[in-house]
């Protein structure tokens, strides 16, 4: 028998059967619904449990004068959602979040590439970057306010100080962990200098880079919330300002509502990063296909 035919047969055998059975291509909508439900019910259960415990604590009468029950808070939140004020505040905050994060992304990436490429720079800055990561962002505010006065600039500065080190570190880790075998393959191919970075090292470091970006987002979001509590900017009240107002008014339900909003935004953005990370790993075959999405 001809070699090509044997080889073709072997290839087909090794790639396994094609998934053409019933249910695989059939009702995609039903499958999607089932998958969504399967992914959602543990989360819903967790939320229900928190609400239950909260309700029980409320019923025991602990801190009776201030602690509102989940019913009051949720209806407060519903009321807030009907008003433009909350949405305007979310708009102001998200705009700052976007600007601050993009700034941190650019600065962190540039520093990451430079530190990864230039050994003396790494010797000088490597441990400083790691040190900066452990710095609580709120500690930057006095410095930032003196430097920029209390305003958006101060908040953006602290966001960058919080997020850029994580992003830079993610990129540096990715560059360092590029498999030596792939580097050998790339050099044999004649990839050098910029082409080596463009076609090999940067794509290879993408998963660690995305992990750094995700962590950077968490730091940026925290810095922003701290900033909005510390720095009051007249005319543009963000979520932090609403929270501050509620504190002054001793409005527990209102404060809790805003906290829930902040939490939801944080979770949704984190979800986007997790999705990106999963898609990336799936493309590279770094994900166990039997695991649920």
């Amino acid at each position: 028998m001809a070699v090509d035919q044997v080889l073709q047969g072997l290839d087909n055998l090794e790639l396994g059967p094609r998934s053409t059975g019933p249910g695989a291509s059939g009702d995609r909508a039903a499958r999607l619904a089932r998958k969504t439900l399967a992914a959602a019910w543990p989360k819903l259960l967790a939320v229900a449990l928190v609400l239950l415990v909260w309700q029980v604590v409320h019923l025991t009468g602990w801190k009776k004068l201030v602690l509102a029950g989940p019913g009051t808070v949720l209806s407060d939140l519903w009321q807030l959602a009907q008003h433009g004020q909350l949405w305007a505040a979310i708009g102001v905050t998200m705009k700052r979040a976007l600007i601050g994060y993009v700034l941190a992304l650019i600065i962190g990436s540039v520093i990451g590439v430079l530190v990864a490429r230039i050994p003396p720079l790494r010797a000088a800055l490597g441990s400083i970057i790691t040190g900066l990561q452990t710095m609580p962002s709120i500690a930057w505010y006095p410095f930032a306010i003196i430097l920029f006065s209390a305003g958006t600039q101060a908040i953006l500065f602290v966001m960058v100080m919080g997020a850029a080190p994580s992003i830079a570190n993610g990129l540096i880790t990715g560059v360092d962990y590029t498999p030596p075998l792939l580097l050998r393959a790339g050099r044999t191919m004649g990839l050098t200098g910029l082409a080596l970075y463009r076609y090999l090292i940067l794509p290879a470091s993408l998963p660690a880079y995305v992990a750094g970006m995700k962590q950077g987002w968490a730091f940026a979001w925290r810095s922003l919330m701290a900033g909005e509590l510390v720095v009051t900017i007249v005319g543009a009240p963000g979520l932090g300002v609403l929270l501050n107002t509620n504190q002054s008014l001793q409005d527990f339900a209102g404060a809790t509502s805003i906290i829930i909003v902040i939490l939801i935004i944080g979770i949704v953005v984190d979800l986007v990063f997790t999705k990106a990370d999963t898609a990336l790993r799936r493309r590279r075959g770094l994900l166990d296909p039997s695991l649920p999405a």
């Binding site: 290839d11 050998r184 044999t188 191919m189 082409a195 290879a204 075959g285």
Partner: protein, 263 residues
């Protein structure tokens, strides 16, 4: 243009001109305070279009040798001359870029060589056809079997316009049946493209099956201790008696060498 003309006349037929010439090549590594001699005064020649197998037990510096010929490393002493030929290197692992499809992996080697975009597509398709992977171009490495990945790696090495193909135990991680088929494929491609192959292995049968010549290296340090010419009379099979006889001779020679380290 002149360069490519020269190239085509040089590889157009098998000549006795040396394609790879090593003279007195030594390579020492510094590990802490001790110095480890990996290769000691290795001299060998591979003629244009010759299939040379290099065999040895552990610690014979096989991979070091290929790295030196590929120019990834510099010898401590001696000369390596490939006469300006393009050298492609293949490893035991396919070392494909996991974020690229099979076709993109091959195409990247063309891009690195500066092949214009318009030609890259057709050349990639042709190279994938050469390794019989037409239709699998848009699969990612992890979606292919081990044998198929190694064939993509071969196509990528060929895309480097290699006149000299260095292979570092390329089929070591494959099952016997796949390996057997890939031997035939490699033989076909080698003959079609008039390649010079330096094939490192520790599988004596593989060496006896594929080589025009088999070079045996000693261990720690690596020296050339024996050389066998195997005349090619028609196609060989891994289970044919000539191959088995040659394998037995190689095994005995290797055991003798290993025994030297036993006492």
């Amino acid at each position: 243009m002149r360069v490519s003309d020269e190239r085509s006349t040089r590889v157009s037929g098998r000549t006795d001109a040396p394609a790879v010439l090593l003279t007195g090549v030594s390579k020492a590594y510094r590990t802490g305070r001790a110095e480890l001699l990996a290769l000691d005064q290795v001299s060998l020649t591979a003629r244009d279009g010759e299939f040379v197998c290099i065999i040895g037990a552990s610690g014979c510096g096989k991979s070091t040798l290929l790295n030196l010929v590929a120019g990834l490393d510099k010898p401590t002493a001696g000369q390596i001359d490939t006469g300006g030929r393009n050298v492609g290197l293949m490893f035991q692992e396919p070392a494909l870029f996991p974020w690229l499809t099979a076709a993109r992996n091959v195409e990247l080697a063309l891009r690195a060589r500066g092949v214009p975009r318009a030609e890259r597509r057709s050349q990639t398709a042709e190279l994938l056809a050469t390794v019989r992977l037409t239709g699998f171009g848009d699969k990612r490495p992890h979606e292919l079997s081990g044998g198929m990945r190694q064939r993509v790696a071969l196509a990528r090495a060929l895309a480097q316009h290699a006149d000299v193909l260095l292979m570092d135990e390329p089929f070591g991680a494959l099952d016997a049946m796949t390996r057997d088929l890939l031997h035939e494929e490699l033989e076909r491609i080698w003959a079609e493209r008039t390649l010079t192959v330096l094939f490192v292995t520790h599988n004596v049968r593989e060496a006896a099956r594929l080589g025009d010549r088999v070079i045996v290296l000693s261990s720690r340090p690596g020296r050339v201790i024996a050389e066998y010419d195997i005349s090619r009379r028609g196609p060989r099979r891994i289970d044919s008696p000539e191959v088995a006889n040659m394998a037995a001779i190689l095994t005995d020679r290797l055991r003798e060498e290993m025994g030297r380290h036993g006492s």
